[in-house]
Amino acid sequence: MTHTSTEAEERLGRSPFRRALAVTIAVLVVLVAAFAGLNYLQGPKLSSATIDASSAVAKAGQQLRLFANQNISAVKKSQVTITPAAPFSVNSSGEIIAVQFGTRLSYDTQYRVTVKSVTSLYQDRPQTFRYSFTTAKAQFYYLDRADPTAGGDQLDSIVRTGLSGGRGTVVYSAPHIQEFVVFPQLIAVATLGDDKTGSLSLVSLSGGPVEQVALPGSGTIGRLEASPDAGMLGFLFTGAGPSGSYSSDLMLVDLTGTHVVQPVLGLDSRPLGVADWQFLSGSTSFVAQTFDQTVLLIDAKKPGSSVPLGQYAELGRSSPDGKTLIVSDVFGKIAYSLADGKETRLPALPIAGAGSFGGDLELLGSGNARVQQVAVFDTSGGNSYRSYLVYEQGTTSRILFQTANGKGSIDGFSVSPNGQYVAVNVVPDVASSVSDGYFVNPKSTSITTVFIDIATGNLVRSVAGFDESW
């Protein structure tokens, strides 16, 4: 007994190695225990976050994903606050908190997201996550046509710019640009030749070569429309001359496949002639109005899928979510729900007590808030109408834009994809206006586009051009 204990003492106490080993292990055990405790008490931390700052302004339903450094218990909506306020829903699983925005966010705005009382699955140590991000700046393209009086061989330009000013970048120049549409990587441009026939070019935005799309023959292009998310574009084609076999027939081009122009076939298996048409937001479906005023809903990817929605005097614009369509009959504008066919009348509201006549209209979201062009009979200065652009919600209306002294006219308007701004194409003085004389889509040489903040009515920018594309 005595012998072994002294031996053990000797081994433990005297051997420097044994002692160093014992001390090292002891110190390490204490440190490991201490840090394990600290970790245990620390609670979760926000390690990273992702959001697509440009999609968030363009589409509703975008997600901000917050990644915690460990699995966390479920996060409820009440724990989350967002400033400036925006509708949202919250989902959490594992280490991810997904905040889904119910609407499109405002351009160039700093959003602050705070999640209170985040606890780990393993211990109850509430922590607050804070994250802020700035959304993308507004960016749009517009068409700046050359002044025909300034000389013969000037080119028309497509310009990319933002709302904060600056001259912008010319992305494409060509003689006689009729209209254009924008895709994420390219723009499709319809130009007019000297023989008054149209041609269609695909221009890469990253500086690649310009691709000519082969048309079904010689003829004119009209109503060029794009569905950028679905990678499709379409237009109305009318053959030139007596041999022209097409008359305002709808043609589609699938940019995700071979860039071949395909006519849309009607129920009689012949090319479908339409008066007006447009894609439903973000999809391969579109609505078209035939010459007998029937409005059809067609999915471009499903041949023979055309559904007649009824006969209407006019086909208007579709809502940003693609679920509601504006049509009109003799009594005025109707919001037509594509889901259940329900019709809601949208009467033009009186302006300053005077009755108004409703013109073109665009819904801002899924509700009935809208921007509308209206005309009011001008009783003060002669027998004329004055144009206004108004914001209407429920039973209230607010003037967003009117031309100076009532001399000008509103040629058209478009709302930014997030419903924050409206662009108004204005001819400042109708009396002195000169047309540029284009065979298709002629415009006044003095046409200007002004950009207005819908919430405040402030004019934020104006450019000398039109056909703005967000």
């Binding site: 051997s15 190695f17 160093a20 292990i25 390490l28 394990a36 620390q42 390690s47 450094n69 780990s120």
Partner: protein, 341 residues
């Protein structure tokens, strides 16, 4: 002893050389022929588990083999071809500084951990103390250009994981080196067989050529390392077939348990340090950075394959002490990273 030397010399003058060569080459071709012909006999319908065990074990062997051969080659170069004390001369005399410099030798001898065992053995024979060779053995798999680049590529050169791995590897190697340098009897740390080899008189006395000695070393080292590699690979394969991966993944992102889970995973997986960053990268989203660091620090030093390989050189007791200290140090590094990152 003397008699046996005389015997082997007398019997090995000429004929056995030719016979040996002939038998050997014929043997190699025979193995080739067997390997080439057996698939023609058709697919073996082994049970899935057994088939996968074999595939996994072979995979570990095939993956490690080139590194082992490279390690043995470098070991031969260090032992036979580099002039005596050439390495010794450039090293500082102060033991702590000396081990610090030794930690970075891996930069010139870029082998992963399995190749490092023969190399470390070579260094001991060459005159390193056991604790110095341990420092080399533990540091070189991490502090070498290939590992540094692959880790940086996988996680980013400014990431916590990258820093924790390099600093952690250095600290662990030097703490272990310092600890075992306190041991009064360095030789007692080694297996009897290897200690005996180290005490061997310099073979130059026999007048052997360097080439002959190199080949002799190759045979001897492969005789020691290969069985250990085979057994280690088999055990690594067995554990992988037996332990469901989900058990480890479920411990996922708990800051404390995930450290332990990653140490177990590193122990079981036994992939080389040169490639383990790519292996663990897919787990980076599930596990916390500290836990990933633990995998990358602990794995190259202690795993199933490595323990069987190190057992050729060190006694079981040393390996237990080594494992305990390394495990605690790695866990500490992981916990600190988890706390700070």
């Amino acid at each position: 002893m003397g008699i046996r030397v005389a015997e082997s010399r007398r019997s090995g003058i000429r004929t056995p050389t030719v016979v040996g060569l002939a038998v050997g080459v014929v043997g190699i071709f025979a193995v080739f022929a067997v390997r080439a012909l057996t698939p023609a006999l058709g697919k073996w319908s082994l049970p899935n588990q057994l088939q996968d065990l074999l595939t996994l074990s072979i995979s570990v062997i095939v993956e490690s083999l080139p590194f082992v051969i490279l390690g043995i080659l470098l070991s031969i170069i260090v032992q036979v071809w580099i002039p005596d004390r050439w390495i010794m001369r450039i090293l500082p005399a102060n033991p702590i500084l000396r081990r610090g410099v030794i930690s970075f030798l891996g930069i010139f001898l870029p082998v992963c951990e399995c190749g490092n065992v023969p190399l470390a053995r070579g260094l001991i024979v060459k005159g390193f103390t056991v604790s110095e060779s341990m420092t080399f053995l533990l540091a070189a798999p991490i502090l070498n250009p290939i590992t540094i680049i692959t880790t940086g590529q996988a996680f980013g050169f400014d990431s916590w994981v990258f820093v924790a791995r390099l600093v952690g590897g250095f600290v662990i190697a030097n703490v272990i080196g310092w600890l075992f340098s306190k041991h009064p009897d360095q030789d007692s740390l080694l297996t009897d067989r290897f200690a005996a080899e180290c005490r061997m008189p310099d073979p130059h006395e026999h007048g052997e050529t360097r080439w002959k000695k190199s080949i002799e070393l190759f045979t001897r080292e492969s005789g020691v390392i290969m069985p250990a590699l085979f057994i280690g690979s088999l055990v690594a394969g067995l554990v992988q077939v037996a332990v469901p991966r989900a058990v480890l993944l479920n411990l996922g992102s708990n800051p404390v348990w995930s450290i332990l889970a990653m140490m177990v995973l590193a122990f079981v997986i036994s992939v080389c340090s040169n490639v383990d960053s790519f292996f663990i990268l897919p787990f980076a989203s599930t596990f916390m950075p500290g836990s990933i660091s633990v995998f990358l620090v602990f794995g190259p030093i202690i795993d199933i394959k490595m323990l069987t390989l190190m057992r050729t050189t060190f006694t079981a007791k040393v390996l237990v002490q080594l494992t305990v200290v390394v495990a605690l140090l790695s866990a500490l590094i992981g916990l600190v990273v988890n706390y700070v990152a």
